[in-house]
Amino acid sequence: MSSVADMTISPRDAERYEEKDFGFWLYLMSDAVIFACLFATYLVMVGNTAGGPAPKDVFELDRAAAETALLLLSSTTFGVAAVALSSGDRGKVLLWLAVTFLLGAGFIFLEIGEFTGMIAQGAGPDRSGFLSAFFTLVGTHGFHVSVGLVWILVMMGQVFFKGLTAPVASRFMRLGLFWHFLDIIWVVIFSVVYLPGVL
């Protein structure tokens, strides 16, 4: 990043950022383990419908496909923001972070619609073991995405007020790891929850 004037950092700072990156990576790995446990719980519970709705009755493939498209596109637009960051284009970073935010917000909007629709038709988390596991797993992912949305807003504030300084760029990269990581979790969710559910 030394190509961008205001992003030069001392070796001591570089070491600090490296430690932070590693620490954040360890957090992501432990988060992956948490999701793995929720996936295991879901797979054990998916057959326990207690006479209530089965996956086939409550999952909408169209909605899952739309959610998938929004999240995948938001990962790509974040990449566009990252490229803008490396060329030091502050306006473009803000623009593409805003686009990423809107795509992520669209995802959350669809998911909230899905959850409220299911609860309205009596398929809430209290109905059966399957639905408890479903809401816990997909809800935990949705909560992570919501936190990511808040983080994107904070990031936009920092880029706007502080500019593309080395600490801001370092935080931006960790936000990127978080955002792309959530997209990976979603790939597992549609492969384990939605697609087998409608088959």
């Binding site: 990043m1 030394s2 950092i9 070796p11 570089a14 950022y17 490296e18 990156d21 590693f22 990576w25 360890l26 790995m29 432990s30 992956a32 383990v33 793995a36 446990c37 996936f39 295991a40 719980t41 797979l43 054990v44 493939l61 899952a64 496909a65 998938t68 995948l72 596109l73 990962s75 790509t76 990449g79 566009v80 990252a82 490229v83 960051l85 490396s86 060329s87 760029a169 370092s170 990269m173 960790r174 790891l177 792309h180 990581f181 997209d183 990976i184 790939v187 597992v188 549609f190 492969s191 384990v192 939605y194 697609l195 087998p196 409608v198 088959l199």
Partner: protein, 106 residues
Amino acid sequence: METKSGLQIERTIRPYLVGLALAVVLTAIPFGLAATGALPRETTLIIIAALAVVQILVHLAFFLHIDFKTTPRENLVALAFALVLIFIMVGGSLWIMFDLYHRMMV
């Protein structure tokens, strides 16, 4: 490209577009199979699982920029350790619970 902090910053959009194109294909195939039900259920499930693994690798490579050259070694070790933990916990849980399930059915 590598920053001094060890994290990579991409200077070109190319890896993201390659990643997007691969991810679209790897997503469209399982969704298409699930929507049409063209293949038997078992076969479809195996294809979905296999494509999910490939897509995770695509995301790791093109979006998270994990590779064996520039990614710090300790990050790769942490990733490998997490995979071992996940394998033991998911595999072990399913093994125990479904074994229990079958014994209860007798």
